[in-house]
Subunit: 709 residues, 2 copies
Amino acid sequence: MPLDKAAVRSVLDRVRSENRSSLTAPEAKTVCDAYGIPVPKEGLATSADAAVKLAEGMGFPVVMKIVSPDILHKTEAGGVIVGVASGDAARRAYDTIVASAKKYKANASIVGVQIQQQLATAQEVIVGAVTDQSFGKIIAFGLGGVLVEVLKDITFRLAPASRDDALSMLDGIAAAEILKGVRGAQPVDRNALATIIENVSKLVTDFPEISEVDLNPIFARPDGATAVDARIVVDFDPPEPRHRPSHDDIVRAMNRIMRPEAVAVIGASSEEGKIGNSVMKNLINGGYQGKIYPINPSADEILGLKAYKTVGEVPGEIDVAVFAIPAKFVAGALKECGAKKIPGAVLIPSGFAETGNVEGQLEIQRIGREQNIRLMGPNIYGFYYTPKHLCATFCTAYDYQGKVALSSQSGGVGMAIIGFSRSAKMGVSAIVGLGNKADIDEDDLLTFFEQDENTEAVAMHMEDLKDGRAFAEVAKRVSKKKPVMVLKAGRTALGSKAAASHTGALAGNDKVYDDVLRQSGVIRARGLNELLAFARAVPILPTPKGENVVIITGAGGSGVLLSDSCVDNGLGLMKFPPDLDEAFKKFIPPFGASGNPVDITGGEPPKTYQNTIRLGLEDDRIHALILGYWHTIVTPPMVFARLTAEVVEEFRKRGINKPVVASLAGDVEVEEASEYLFDHGIPAYPYNCETPVAVLGAKYRWARGAGLI
Amino acid sequence: MPLDKAAVRSVLDRVRSENRSSLTAPEAKTVCDAYGIPVPKEGLATSADAAVKLAEGMGFPVVMKIVSPDILHKTEAGGVIVGVASGDAARRAYDTIVASAKKYKANASIVGVQIQQQLATAQEVIVGAVTDQSFGKIIAFGLGGVLVEVLKDITFRLAPASRDDALSMLDGIAAAEILKGVRGAQPVDRNALATIIENVSKLVTDFPEISEVDLNPIFARPDGATAVDARIVVDFDPPEPRHRPSHDDIVRAMNRIMRPEAVAVIGASSEEGKIGNSVMKNLINGGYQGKIYPINPSADEILGLKAYKTVGEVPGEIDVAVFAIPAKFVAGALKECGAKKIPGAVLIPSGFAETGNVEGQLEIQRIGREQNIRLMGPNIYGFYYTPKHLCATFCTAYDYQGKVALSSQSGGVGMAIIGFSRSAKMGVSAIVGLGNKADIDEDDLLTFFEQDENTEAVAMHMEDLKDGRAFAEVAKRVSKKKPVMVLKAGRTALGSKAAASHTGALAGNDKVYDDVLRQSGVIRARGLNELLAFARAVPILPTPKGENVVIITGAGGSGVLLSDSCVDNGLGLMKFPPDLDEAFKKFIPPFGASGNPVDITGGEPPKTYQNTIRLGLEDDRIHALILGYWHTIVTPPMVFARLTAEVVEEFRKRGINKPVVASLAGDVEVEEASEYLFDHGIPAYPYNCETPVAVLGAKYRWARGAGLI
């Protein structure tokens, strides 16, 4: 049905003119009618005959209520009769109500009697919309009633929600089964509910001044759904949205910042221990091949490079200026960068919003906008971009190239990323500190990494999203091509309190983050540990072509733990067709467990591992392998590692590239074997049945979200 | 009220004599009455006068139903009237029912009319009891209704349940808040519900032949609770319980097995690669100082030790015989061990139940019982007991002594334990393989470790419990003194299916395990990874004296992640009194975050870490510290590690021994620093904000369960 925007506009104009912040019940009904949201039928009768006619039109039973500006407490006045079940009863009720009202207040002005459809009890659900500081308009769906209020079983999506979004919400609550009909109950009308969700989300999108909608309860029946109560709140003076440059502007500026041909270091220094000295050393020793311009008013040369008093004196173009000066000098230097048309500033200095200097941060933000300079930071360690051997940071140099880009809001977490990367020999394309995010934030970075041919996956630590909607939009697009993994800190009330005191950011309701990130195809990590594990393994795992996962294990005990992990990570074990079961059985001892997990039993020679892994790769009904190795003298760890890498490599050469992960149980030699496997594209972990499955599960979540399986 | 056992006995005798497996509704009512379980009041009226009197006695409204052996379909016969609200109505209803019944079936024998209290709708709950194969009688509590059936929100305890157990069950469901009254509803009568739980658990304990009780629904009101429907199932032929030696017998035998003075190796061999050769080498090279008797019918000497043809030929006493012979020879050799009065056999051989040879396993089980030999295994790697330098295993020798004992049901997991222990330098007192658990199982081991002065904590991997009740009893006692940590594999449906095919064990409902293990004070690990982390850290952490946890961090970002982890692990952050906040503020820069986490900010010198850690240890309102370190040039990793260890050590010398854990963010040097801290009694982890808090949380869970805080 067509939506009647004019009707809503007229209601909102009246509300605005009367300086109200919420709609009356009749106004809310008008809005619901205009946007195809079913509400109980109702009408005003000014005679007993009219009451009968109205009631017959909407169907019995009905509720009848006095309408009088002079009577506030309708029930007390004898002005409400429920369960009116026939025409006769409606006629009698009309007369009774009017008589009671007159008796209650002789001089009351009586407008008439409201007749309202009385709905049979049904499954209660809730649909709502709220305006989130970071995500803007979001829509919520949950079951009604006391249990759900206690269990907080609710799901969110960005508005506007598509039909698919709306339907996915019905499955997005823990108690979803109830809507499908349990214990012989009929299922509710999913289409009717989806339509309400869609239309509410259109309503708040079309009219941004509607800040909140609460349809609670909605009676969901097998043949429709009706919102029994509707509450609508408005805000005609919303906060200004965060500035967002165009996509092309972002790409142009970010490419110059991240892959510069010339870098200026403002505050470059020859003095050991100074940040401006560390940055210079890292640029030079890191192997950066572009031009480096030290800027220092009182030096002619720094570390063998000609120094300039200001950026203005530099003869050539500068792509990015790295700031290594105290906070108070930043604004002035930024203006000079503007004059020199430098498109990006990396603001290492702290002393802005994080220390309470909000004014100072607003000032540099303003200068950045005026001068058309994108700002990274302030309060950051800088960034690395390994394809250019660029270490624009005061931290230690890092130059092990790989496919994954990482970012962190916090410097401490950034240092952990650097340490882990080096220790695990995890090659990276970039590591970026975002700090206070006065300007450049996660969606700018994602937009850059999307088109950066050196980056195949992105892992981000964040405490808040300054513009969650922008991030969700970009992530939804990017995650179709490259895995986007996120650690959102401040998941819990305690954590988000710590986040608030740390960054001045008000962390949003975590369930909103959870649902919106999932809706955007983002893989969420539960902790730093997991983010790093994902970042290391997900990019090297090939994309699975289907859901059929098979465990091949030498240790039955590992098979059990790996199976548990599969469930924990949303993976199902393939049910073997008889021929496949027979095929595996040929290779394993008669007492080995057939079926999935394939338990080849301990004490088997290398050949048994080889044969079963080969079969797992060969059969195109199988899409991914989880290996459980058990250290024995017959097949020592490095023998297992080499044979596995060899078989996998052989199949890759034949164009068969399935994800394979491994859990190694054994004495310390399994550590070396795990490293060997990792180096050969097989994520492998010693003494651990959880992480191999978690990283495979992450790859699957990504592939599903990207529509690849 | 006193329980009427005789009434129940008489009902059960009748049921048994009639060969029935369930009770009729009146029988169930009799049982409920006898055990103080309120059911709706009811009575049989044989006249209208009697009906009025009965109804008045129980209070209106009532339900009235024809009672006639000739009328099965009461409603069809017009024999049921509900909502009878007065004496007059009861009189009329009696006459109507009898008349209708006669009209329906003229020759029906009419016994009378049943009058039953009609209860107002109330909060529905469920109390049940079932007989679990491993745990015996267990009692269940949950909310009734469709939502809970879908959400499976239910909790279990071993029967008999104490009053405290019963009350804890009311808080043990996710929707517990509902019982306390939400949205203005009155709370239900907790005492009434606890009484029902207690009494049902007494009922099934007193009468083991009652295999199942299902009170569903129970109407829980603010002033009482009534079981509306009661279903009781009986089993007069239950399976025989698992044999269990007396506590003293277990201790005596286990001490001789685990700490022997003399070990025989049956199947000892000089031939490289044979299991009997590996066992001999491990015994000798491991440094075992007791007597070693190689048994081999065709050798005079093995590895320089005199060999014997049978154990019977050995001159002295033997405490334990390690079997390294094929399965088919085990039974015969066991009998010889019996004749020699050897109290224990370590059955390394496989080829029993795990390969389908159930008969063979039952045979050796029988021989063990007859000959009074406790059996470890079969199908195991053996065991280690480091205080005696004893490696009774074919795996590699291990001799790094420590306080934690570990066991595994699976050999593969056992090898992972050994590898991890060696790699992490985790000292152990024992590592034991339990395999098929034909005899010795986890409760025997726990009973041994309880009194073993070399063991201060126990970590166990298990796939099932052959006698869950015995384990729970022992664990409840032991966990009061020493932390007991358990990884129960087969948590999930997939995992338990894998467990079933692997061990022939039917893994129980995981929620039962979860609740019973918690009730027994056991700390449950979610994966192998976590079990090993717990095993390494929990024994070295001192026991906290209270719940006040404080985070001190150099990286605000770590503070947020550590706070999230606190919530995940059931830890709350102490709310600072003003004086404590002031005291911390003195040591940190003005822009550092006061409150908890204490954010000392990055770039601080060693003194700041020192001062704040010192304050955290000094102030006796603080009970545990979580440190978040951020690698900087000002305070490098090893400087932080040394100063932290020094301060902690200083306070330990003063008798102040609080648990301290650390998360280290930084470049690779944080790995060495973490190891240093671990060596000094401070569990520390690089690049990881989750594990430090998880191990502290495990220690807290234990301390709470043991009643120490």
